[in-house]
């Protein structure tokens, strides 16, 4: 579906994207996970033709480069920065961008209604976007990105500044879109989101792809050991292990457990082990 090969981009001396390659399969939700400044937005912008790469190649669906308007018709982007007209209503925004995508007539009407319904803004569609909450604006931003039913959807940090309720709604939407056959690229610096949503995750830092696989495989390979934390009559214990169940059984055999919990490694640990830093730095 989307092939990036050896993409490079420098801003002055600052290397934003450094020989980045990846293949995204049709119908998957692909997560691009990395801290702020890792090069996610730069990658997305190059992918959709907003930025010219210094080197490397981008192919979409075997059709060619995103500079071609025909190819761009098949891409939808929700930029990290909101891109909506605040003085227009939600419906007007969606309709305007649908027209820009070349939709017209009854089809446009139907798609606009569908997109608004999809993000749950039908009730508020006549209100000016400036009266929307942050989460509603994000949802509108998403509706605009999907109104032309793109085959490839790129969402750049779509949950920044969004309340938990809107965030859940957005997740639901994305999963539904995948069911309808869309391919989604989702960038985030929240490892929980990548873990919950994505079929495969690429971990990016300083413009380099450090690891790329399914969430389970990444944790398996780079997550390190689980931790078993138990409270016994004799005192508390904390054990690092790759076999938490075995350790628990051993503890139970030798003492009376009052409470216990197991901390499984997650993508945070993966990142820590790969870079020596935490994602949230």
């Amino acid at each position: 579906m989307l092939h990036l090969k050896n993409l490079r981009k420098k801003f002055g001396d600052n290397v934003a994207v450094d020989h980045l390659s990846l293949d995204i399969h049709k119908g998957e939700i692909f997560g691009l996970l990395g801290p702020n400044g890792a090069g996610k937005t730069t990658t997305v912008n190059m992918t959709v033709g907003l930025l010219k790469p210094d080197g490397g190649g981008i192919t979409i669906n075997g059709e060619g480069s995103p500079e071609d308007p025909k190819v761009r018709c098949r891409i939808g982007v929700a930029t990290q920065a909101l891109a909506i007209y605040e003085e227009m209503s939600g419906e007007e925004n969606v309709r305007f961008f649908a027209t820009m995508q070349g939709l017209g007539g009854a089809l446009r009407k139907e798609r606009v209604a569908w997109a608004l319904d999809f993000v749950g803004l039908t009730d508020r569609r006549r209100d000016k976007a400036s009266q929307y909450s942050g989460g509603m604006k994000r949802r509108l931003n998403l509706a605009i990105a999907i109104v032309h039913k793109p085959a490839l959807l790129l969402l750049d940090e779509p949950t920044v500044g969004v309340d938990p309720q809107s965030r859940n709604a957005i997740f639901e939407n994305i999963l539904t879109l995948r069911e309808q056959g869309a391919t989604v690229v989702y960038t985030t610096h929240y490892m929980e989101e990548a873990q919950r949503l994505c079929d495969r995750v690429g971990i990016i830092d300083h413009g380099k792809m450090l690891a790329l696989d399914t969430v389970d495989a990444l944790i398996e390979a780079h997550g390190g050991e689980s931790r078993v934390i138990a409270k016994r009559a004799e005192g508390n214990v904390e054990i690092s292990t790759s076999d938490p169940l075995g350790e628990l059984q051993k503890l139970q055999a030798t003492s009376t457990l009052q409470t216990f919990r197991v901390e499984w490694p997650d993508l945070e640990h993966v990142f820590l082990n790969l870079t020596g830093r935490s994602l949230r730095d």
Partner: protein, 419 residues
């Protein structure tokens, strides 16, 4: 095409919702033009009638006649009072000047060759400018009496006899003068008799005549002050459009919608054309509205409607170019707005958008050629009251379109698609 229209419609819709922007594009220019027109009109009618108070200490038929003549003049608004009251009126600023006709005024005026008639003027010192006008008016009026006498032989005869008597009786007159006059006056009397009936009027000596020579074509005067204020106000509305749309381009950049538009399958040229078209339409709408109000409310009838349409179109094109230029003037909405308005106000200042060019110092008038505002006003006035011929319209229009194209290109070259 569908996209271009949608882009244009979007900008027009947003302008219509932007109350401040709408006000400055459409309402403000009307207020400006109406207000300025009425102020200018007021100034003119005030200068037409200088408020004066006349004190008649002569109290003769002749002085009374002179006052009635003054009252008939357009240049003066005449009131009467005694000297003390008149002085107070001038001192308190109620009247601009006092005209005092001293005793003996009437007699002196009747006699041409004795002591000249004598009038005292008491002026409000803060109104020095008007003293010139007033002196001119009074001199002309006094001279008119002399002129009339020449045109009436009987009155002339009587005059000459009276004068001769007085001269002969006079003791303090220089003997040489006395001599000359006593020989000259009877000769004049004979000469006057030999003239055909009707005196010298229309024939005889060429009469001195001061004529105002006009560089304007006949009939091409602004006949009402709104003919000047509406083209000016129109420029303010159009500048409001240029600044407003220039700023929306900056806003689209900072708010990311420009990026989103670029991701849609529309070309960059189309995106900018949509903005330009919206600006053009609004500009023409402003001009149309203003000249409609001017025509229906203030009786400003352009001398040529086709010419006005051509002028409006060229002005609009020019300011679409300027809009593009302004849109690269700042990174943020505030800076672009501030810098943009600073440039526009400067253009207006040197181009006669604030004070009509004719009232500006010469050095300013000479640099006003660089201001598109000057050419815009000239083109519109050309169609409204200057009676421009098509050939005369070419220069301002060509300059306007030239400035428009140039600033559009500069703007395009410097235009940044990303923030």
């Amino acid at each position: 095409m569908q996209q271009l229209l949608a882009l244009t419609a979007k900008d027009l819709r947003m302008l219509a919702r932007d109350k401040v922007g709408f006000f400055f594009a459409f309402i403000f220019p009307i207020l400006y033009s109406s207000l300025f027109g009425s102020i200018m009109g007021g100034l003119r009618s005030a200068s037409k009638g200088i408020d004066v108070v006349v004190v008649d200490e002569d109290k003769t038929k002749d002085s009374e006649k002179f006052i009635v003549e003054l009252e008939g003049l357009e240049e003066l608004k005449v009131a009467r009072a005694d000297k003390a009251d008149a002085q107070d009126m001038v001192r308190l600023g109620k009247k601009r000047a006092m005209i005092l006709l001293p005793e003996g005024f009437g007699r002196a005026r009747r006699q041409m060759f004795g002591n000249p008639p004598h009038v005292e003027i008491g002026l409000d010192p803060s109104r020095l400018a008007e003293s010139g006008i007033l002196q001119g008016v009074l001199t002309a009026q006094l001279y008119k009496g002399v002129q009339r006498m020449f045109s009436d032989s009987a009155a002339m005869d009587k005059q000459i006899d009276e004068s001769l008597q007085e001269i002969r009786a006079s003791k303090d007159m220089d003997p040489a003068t006395k001599m000359t006059l006593t020989t000259f006056l009877p000769g004049l009397k004979t000469f006057m008799r030999s003239l055909p009936e009707g005196g010298m009027q229309g024939g005889g000596f060429p009469q001195p005549k001061i004529e105002q020579v006009d560089i304007m074509r006949s009939e091409s005067h602004p006949t009402n002050s709104y003919q000047i204020s509406f083209p000016q106000g129109c420029i303010w509305g159009i500048m409001g459009c240029a600044a407003g749309f220039g700023i929306t381009l900056v806003v689209e950049r900072t708010h990311g919608t420009l990026v989103r538009l670029r991701m849609a399958p529309v070309g960059r040229a189309q995106i900018l054309a949509g903005k330009g078209l919206a600006c053009l339409i609004t500009t023409l709408a402003v001009a149309t509205l203003l000249f409609t109000v001017a025509a229906f409310v203030f009786e400003v009838r352009p001398s040529s409607y086709p010419m006005l349409i051509v002028a409006m179109f060229c002005v609009a094109l020019c300011f679409v170019g300027i809009m593009m230029f302004l849109s690269v003037m700042g990174k943020t909405e505030q800076s672009a707005g501030g810098i943009g308005w600073a440039i526009l106000v400067l253009m207006a200042m040197i181009g006669g958008g604030m004070i009509p060019l004719a009232f500006m110092p010469e050095w300013l008038q000479s640099i006003s050629d660089i201001s598109p505002v000057k050419w815009s006003i000239l083109a519109m006035e050309g169609a409204v009251w200057r009676n421009f011929s098509p050939a005369e319209m070419v220069t301002p229009c060509a300059v306007l379109v030239g400035i428009g194209v140039l600033s559009f290109c500069i703007g395009l070259k410097a235009f940044k698609w990303e923030s």
